[in-house]
């Protein structure tokens, strides 16, 4: 897949728009303000490098990625993981527990994962397991971008990762938040607006081009409805995990989830 990264600097507003056309299966657009053109370009380059690095680690559709290697090997023997991937998978375990199994990177076989904490290794007791970090990767990337932007004293930025994962640093330059509207993928009408400020938005649901792709790990059933869930939270990964979990959760589970996480805002759109 050919990736094109480019950036355009708008001098009159001191705004840099960076765009990476294809990474983690979608497009990344970044709006960054508040430093010189050269400084912003370097920051954007760093973001680009970081997301490509993460893609190479987590993308299960890339046969050379670390996750693909894990998927091919961990069924036969424990695989020793480098620091970061271990931390990521350990965090996924925590999320699995905190969401009563609704967030499950094995899609139903999490109990068959054998984590060896001392050695940082992972073994698949069930050979059929294939890890899928699709519902996590973009959130983690946004978390990493956030750190990068703050390190570089950026006070105003908006990062849109494939429309479903949005990071807001600070506010819009001319207002008190980054106002982002959520559209119905079929009718294109605006369903609601969130006011982001130093937090992240994640939206989950089906769309005409991507129908029935969210599976309930407990029942094995794909969600086929038209509902959308949007979650705003200080943690981009929380938002990412929750927007999917809330879509497939029943009423009771929803209530528990909402009380177990720090959420700024959420909406379930019944369509």
């Amino acid at each position: 897949m050919k990736r094109e990264a480019f950036s355009t600097y708008y001098a009159s507003s001191g705004l840099l728009h960076g765009c990476l056309s294809s990474v983690m299966g979608t497009q990344l657009d970044a709006l960054i303000l508040g430093r010189t053109k050269e400084e912003l370009q370097l920051i954007w380059e760093a973001i680009g490098k970081e997301v490509e690095r993460l893609d190479r680690m987590l993308n299960r559709f890339d046969p050379e990625s670390e996750v693909s290697l894990l998927n091919r090997t961990a069924g036969q023997r424990p695989v020793f993981l480098q620091e970061e991937l271990w931390s990521i998978l350990w965090e996924c375990k925590k999320y699995y527990e905190r969401t009563f199994g609704l967030f499950d990177i094995t899609l139903g076989k999490f109990s068959q994962l054998v984590f060896e904490e001392k050695e940082h290794s992972l073994f698949f007791a069930d050979k059929e397991i294939q890890l899928d970090l699709g519902g996590y990767g973009k959130g983690y990337a946004l978390f990493r971008f956030h750190a990068l932007l703050l390190e570089n004293q950026i006070r105003h930025a908006l990062i849109n990762f494939g429309n479903s994962s949005v990071l807001a640093v600070g506010t819009h330059v001319y207002g008190d938040c980054w106002p982002v509207g959520i559209s119905d993928p079929v009718s294109q009408e605006t369903l609601g607006t969130v006011r982001l400020k130093d937090n992240s938005l994640s939206v989950s649901g089906n769309s005409p081009r991507n129908p029935a792709h969210i599976k309930n790990p407990h029942t094995g059933v794909y969600y086929e409805g038209r509902n959308l869930v949007s979650v705003c939270a200080p943690s981009a990964v929380d938002a990412e995990v929750l927007s999917t979990a809330l879509l497939i959760a029943d009423k009771e589970q929803c209530t528990s989830l909402l009380s177990a996480f720090h959420i700024d805002d959420y909406t379930i759109y019944n369509l």
Partner: protein, 439 residues
């Protein structure tokens, strides 16, 4: 090969939708025939048309007229080759048949004449038709020689009649939209134009008797045909004129017979370069012993590429996700407002620059393999526009100048290849148009 139907009504709608306003008309003045006012003029009328030359191309036009052009009636047919005349008569039983065009031109019933005869007869037939007070549609290329083209043009200017030359791309919505994009800067500055046309066949038609060889296979003999340049290049060379709004100042190239060494006289492999005053180059390349690359018409801009043969354009840089550009514009204009772009994950499909975007929706493309004419290549619209002009009697601006230069550029290409020189555009063949206006 896309073959979604695109009826003439759709074309009119999209021509209007494409901003049939002054901007479009100034770029493509021949489109004014589709304006509402002009359409009103012809309701209920029928143009009385004669077809001279009822071989493959003539039959193609007859079929189009019978099928989709209600404002035309075929009242006369002419061909010197009886089998061709018979096949046309079978489709138009009410039309009078002739073997001598001079008799046909004497008929007062005939208002417009469509000439689909071999190239070397275009000039004499067209000039005779114009002088006989008829409106004329002449198939491309305009004529076999530079002097003939000039003579046709001069007669047309004096006659006050309508003249159309069969350059169907002038009415192809894809081309119109593409050039709108070029002129509004969507692909940036035009930095190159590439045309190519590859086929793999000997271009021969079956001949029932050897004595008919030069008659049926006229495309292979210099007396009658300019070969690949007049048969193929003339369609494509006008891209340069449209894109650059200029005519070349130098021409050079090579032509050879490399594969079909069967007694033909025209080249089977050509490569011609047209140089423009601003330094941009337009190429035309054609070989008929390899068809892998098919047909190409490519306009290269510093921001994007238009590939007319595929009906697509490709930007050099990817577009921002929908909504982001809007947000950028707001920030640029110091506006604080929400922008709706969030939703379930967006999978870029045709937005990916490697796949390109369609110039117009429901576009028809063809691979240039047909030697009679492809469905939906603008031919129907062109003939319909001619029939319309026959009724109104109004010539269309720029149409003839465009066609003239397209043919002349092809013929100058042949001259450059034969002489193997870098040839400046000869003053003798300049007519008042674009950068030749001060001649």
């Amino acid at each position: 090969m896309e073959t979604t139907d695109f009826s003439r009504r759709d074309f009119l709608k999209s021509a209007a939708a494409m901003g049939g306003g002054s901007l479009l008309l100034s770029a493509f003045p021949w489109l004014q025939t589709f304006s509402k006012e002009n359409q009103k003029e012809v309701i209920g009328e029928k143009a009385k048309i004669a077809i001279i030359g009822t071989g493959s191309r003539g039959m193609y036009h007859i079929q189009n007229i019978l099928r989709v052009i209600p404002q035309a009636e075929i009242v006369a047919l002419c061909d010197v080759y009886q089998p061709h005349l018979d096949q046309a008569a079978a489709l138009c039983p009410k039309a009078k048949t002739y073997t001598d065009y001079r008799e046909l031109l004497l008929s007062p019933e005939v208002e417009g004449v469509l000439i689909a005869s071999p190239l070397h007869t275009h000039a004499s037939l067209t000039i005779a038709g114009l002088n006989a007070g008829k409106h004329v549609f002449c198939e491309k290329s305009m004529a076999r020689t530079l002097d003939d083209c000039k003579a046709m043009y001069d007669t047309y200017k004096q006659s006050g009649k309508v003249l159309y030359i069969g350059q169907q791309r002038l009415f192809d919505p894809k081309y119109i939209k593409a050039f709108e994009m070029v002129h509004n800067g969507s692909i940036g500055e035009v930095v190159g134009i590439r045309n190519y046309w590859f086929r793999n066949n000997d271009w021969r038609r079956p001949v029932s008797d050897p004595s008919l060889e030069r008659h049926i296979n006229w495309r292979l003999y210099k007396e009658y045909s300019g070969g690949l340049m007049t048969e193929l290049a003339t369609h494509q060379l006008q891209l340069g004129t449209w894109a650059l709004k200029a005519l070349p100042d130098f021409i050079s190239g090579f032509g050879d017979i490399i594969f079909w060494k069967d007694g033909r006289e025209v080249y089977d492999s050509v490569n011609v370069m047209y140089h423009y005053p601003n330094g941009v180059h337009m190429s035309f390349e054609s070989t008929i012993s390899n068809k892998f690359f098919g047909m190409g018409e490519q306009i290269l801009g510093h921001k994007g590429t238009i590939e007319l043969s595929k009906g697509k354009y490709y930007m050099e840089e990817p577009k921002p996700a929908p909504g982001i550009q809007q947000l950028i514009n707001q920030i640029e204009h110091k506006v604080f407002d929400n922008v709706s772009f969030a939703g379930p994950s967006w999978v870029p499909e045709t937005a990916s620059e490697s796949k390109g975007e369609y110039i117009v929706e429901k576009t028809k493309t063809h691979d240039g393999a047909s030697s009679t004419g492809a469905v939906g290549d603008g031919s129907e619209e062109l003939v319909a526009a001619f029939c319309h002009s026959v009724i109104t009697g109004k010539p269309i601006p720029s149409l003839v100048e465009e066609a003239y230069y397209s043919s002349v550029l092809a013929l100058l290409g042949i001259k450059a290849m034969e002489e193997r020189v870098v040839m400046p555009f000869p003053d003798a063949y300049k007519i008042p148009y674009l950068n030749h206006s001060n001649v």
